[in-house]
């Protein structure tokens, strides 16, 4: 780890220094190319809603001149959706979800992480490593919940790089009182510590206002989710993932405005019965490891092949925005514990055990969205998702819904393999339909 700290610090050896600078340059270039490539693929689809342009442009600008952090306010990075961003906003800072889907960053992470670690952790730590000289002073804290082991250990590396890492302790189970209280205490402590970091104490009025804003985001997300239930396919899943990925980096108000416009446009299309794709397109659900921009490889492939993703159960979309905070009394105690409950109780992350809620949630989504097949994406290296595949597969088998398991990562070398599988899966759904 020595060389890492040296890279971030002032006493860099010259050859390492040069190599680092070179890596910085090439990574920046590759990143821009990757983002552009994904946007290209996203926009190649016909009949994309006009309102999606906002999101395409958002990402285009975000990656155009190098990956920028928001300026002006204190930035608090989060490494997982389990970090209550409401608290960060109420404390007057800007939350930025750091989970990266960039292959260019993954390649940086691969320099110092074990080959078998998952691409999300590789890309995220890689991103923070390569941007350390620029971001080092702007990031007030990087909050890492103790969800998966790789993020925990990655956090230790970030600390060595010189980032102010904050560990948000989370239980490995959610059903017992002890787990719930432990997590509530953790979140309370986080709220207090945030106040110290930013210098702005969280007040109940500020928190209530932020929760209100977030609730509006949830309402809008659910509205989008509901629009995907109808027989007429109105929007591709790849676009939905872009919208929810935008939540990571966009200002809440702007995001809401753009989503409202998207909803209005989709509602109009619904009125006119205007389908975005073939009405016979097999209706699919995506679950497992999260599609994170620019890695929308699997959703794009699935929809290029003729399927449509009408529902999802992933932490970059549904799990991020489906549940709203419901407090009973307007005081910090009740609101913070309600906030904590919101992040723990409905959570279906495979880090938790038991995690049967995930099986139930998928079955419910299959029913509500008339899903004909489930696509299970697992990033190589993410053992919890890889292992849970068996249980979900069994549940789907019992429900009579076929499931395709794809183990993949951010690279493109397996596209041929993947497309064969996806194509065969879609063909088998069509054959199954003919049988009915």
């Amino acid at each position: 780890m020595d060389f890492l700290s040296e890279c971030g610090g002032v006493t860099m050896q010259s050859d390492l220094d040069l190599r680092f600078v070179r890596m910085q340059k090439t990574t920046g270039l590759h990143l821009a190319m990757e983002a552009e490539n994904t946007l290209q693929q996203l926009t190649e689809f016909a009949d994309t809603p006009q309102a999606m342009t906002y999101f395409y442009e958002l990402f285009r600008n975000f990656y155009k001149n190098g990956h920028q952090l928001p300026a002006g306010k204190k930035v608090i990075g989060t490494m997982c959706l389990q970090v209550p961003d409401e608290l960060i906003l109420a404390a007057g800072a800007v939350p930025v979800r750091m989970c990266s889907g960039a292959y260019a960053y993954e390649q940086v992470g691969a320099e110092f992480l074990p080959a078998k670690s998952c691409p999300v952790v590789k890309a995220t730590t890689g991103m923070l490593h390569i941007n350390q000289p620029v971001w080092g002073e702007d990031v007030s804290a990087i909050v890492i919940p103790t969800t998966c082991d790789q993020k925990k250990k990655g956090g230790e590396m970030l600390k060595e790089m010189g980032y102010p890492v904050y560990i948000l302790e989370m239980p490995a189970s959610k059903d017992s009182d002890a787990a719930r209280f432990y997590w509530q205490e953790s979140v309370k402590k986080f709220a207090l510590d945030l106040g110290e970091t930013t210098g702005t104490r969280i007040t109940s009025a500020a928190l209530q206002a932020v929760i209100g804003e977030k609730t509006e985001c949830c309402r809008l997300f659910r509205k989008l989710n509901d629009l995907r239930k109808g027989k007429t396919p109105l929007i591709f899943g790849k676009d939905i993932f872009l919208v929810t990925s935008a939540y990571f980096i966009d200002e809440m108000g702007n995001w809401q405005q753009a989503v409202r416009q998207l909803i209005a446009e989709l509602e109009e299309r619904e009125q006119n019965d205007l389908a975005v794709t073939n009405r016979q397109a097999p209706r699919l659900l995506l679950t497992g490891s999260p599609p994170l921009f620019p890695n929308l490889k699997v959703p794009i492939l699935v929809e290029q092949t003729g399927g449509i993703i009408v529902a999802d159960e992933v932490c970059s979309s549904n799990r991020l925005l489906y549940d709203a905070v419901s407090y009973d009394e307007v005081n910090l105690d009740d609101m913070v514990s309600a906030l904590a409950d919101r992040y723990l109780k409905p959570c279906t992350c495979p880090c938790l055990t038991p995690n049967l809620d995930r099986n139930r949630k998928i079955v419910e989504l299959v029913n509500s969205h008339k899903v004909e097949g489930v696509i299970y994406q697992a990033f190589s290296g993410c053992l919890p998702y890889e292992m849970e595949q068996k249980s979900i597969s069994q549940t789907m088998n019992e429900a009579g819904v076929p499931m395709l398991y794809l183990e993949t990562d951010y690279g493109n070398e397996d596209l041929g393999q993947l497309s064969t599988r996806v194509e065969a899966f879609i063909e088998s759904i069509k054959a199954r339909r003919r049988k009915k």
């Binding site: 076929p402 398991y405 397996d414 041929g416 393999q417 599988r421 194509e423 063909e427 054959a431 049988k435």
Partner: protein, 287 residues
């Protein structure tokens, strides 16, 4: 084949539309099967893939047609399948090799009953396909980004032992001792393992048997994920290898059915799908 746009198309009696072709463009070989209206095989061929997918496929197709003296205009519909399916632009449509394999297996094993499980070994992949009562794909699994246990693995073994791939089966049969254990599942590392086993004075025969068992173990592990049901159908080029069949039967603890031309099943399936699709389109066109 798009006949309307082709200047060479005869103006009158534009072909009899009596034949259907399935072309399986694999990573190692191109397989072509031509069938007639009654699903009888009228010609089949197998060519090395080489580096020019499109050119080689077209050449192979034309040479087959010339050999069996059928005009291109008599071929009503062509379906491509396999890794290169999208690259052969002359095909009317393409289908994934999994669906094609399922369709071909049903036909090829018609004499034996209903196929429930297909094990296919290709040049760079391993597939296990579970079929439902109607012969449709119910579930399937493939190897990930790894060539362990595929045709490449056998090629590598043969190369190290300085023999042809076709000789491996006979070599296995000659083994007297216990098959050696090959631990590595990685083709690259297995190579060094084989070399060191040879260097330690182990017999070639036991080693080949060992390689076959290591492939069979890998397949049976993969097969367990989708569930193995009778009857098990084994195809793909390596299914010509008697030693591998023996190892597979031992590992799966049940007999497997191998067709006469195991490497052609997928192409046959594509041809059957071509016939079906053409009939469907004709019906649709005639209202």
């Amino acid at each position: 084949m798009n006949m309307q746009n082709d200047p060479k198309a005869p103006s009158s009696a534009a072909g009899n539309f009596n034949y259907f072709a399935g072309i399986d463009i694999g990573s190692t070989t191109i397989k072509i099967v031509l069938i007639d209206q009654d699903e009888r095989i009228v010609g089949q061929d197998c060519w090395p893939t080489g580096s020019h997918f499109h050119k080689n496929t077209l050449a192979a197709f034309e040479s087959l047609l010339a050999r069996i003296q059928i005009s291109r205009w008599d071929v009503a519909y062509v379906f491509s399948t396999g890794y290169g399916r999208k690259l052969f632009k002359d095909a009317d449509d393409s289908v994934s090799e999994i669906s094609a394999n399922a369709s071909g297996a049903n036909k090829a094993a018609a004499a034996h009953g209903k196929v429930k499980t297909i094990i296919n070994i290709g040049g760079q992949d391993l597939k296990v396909i579970a079929l439902d009562e109607d012969g449709h794909v119910k579930n399937f699994t493939m190897n990930d980004k790894c060539a362990a246990g595929t045709g490449r693995f056998l090629e590598m073994t043969a190369r190290n032992l300085e023999m042809e791939v076709a000789e491996l089966g006979a070599c296995h049969k000659k083994a007297n001792g216990v098959p050696l254990t090959i631990n590595s599942t990685c083709t690259v590392f297995a190579e060094s393992e084989i070399i060191s086993l040879l260097a330690n004075g182990n017999g070639k025969e036991e080693l080949v048997a060992g390689v076959h068992y290591s492939i069979a173990r890998r397949i049976s592990r993969l097969a367990k994920r989708v569930g193995i049901e009778d009857m098990v159908f084994f195809d793909g080029g390596p299914a010509l290898n008697q030693g591998l069949i023996e190892a597979l039967e031992t590992e799966l603890m049940r007999p497997v059915v191998v067709p006469e031309f195991p490497q052609m099943t997928t192409a046959l399936g594509a041809a059957l799908i071509a016939r079906e699709t053409f009939a469907y389109l004709k019906d649709a066109a005639n209202g």
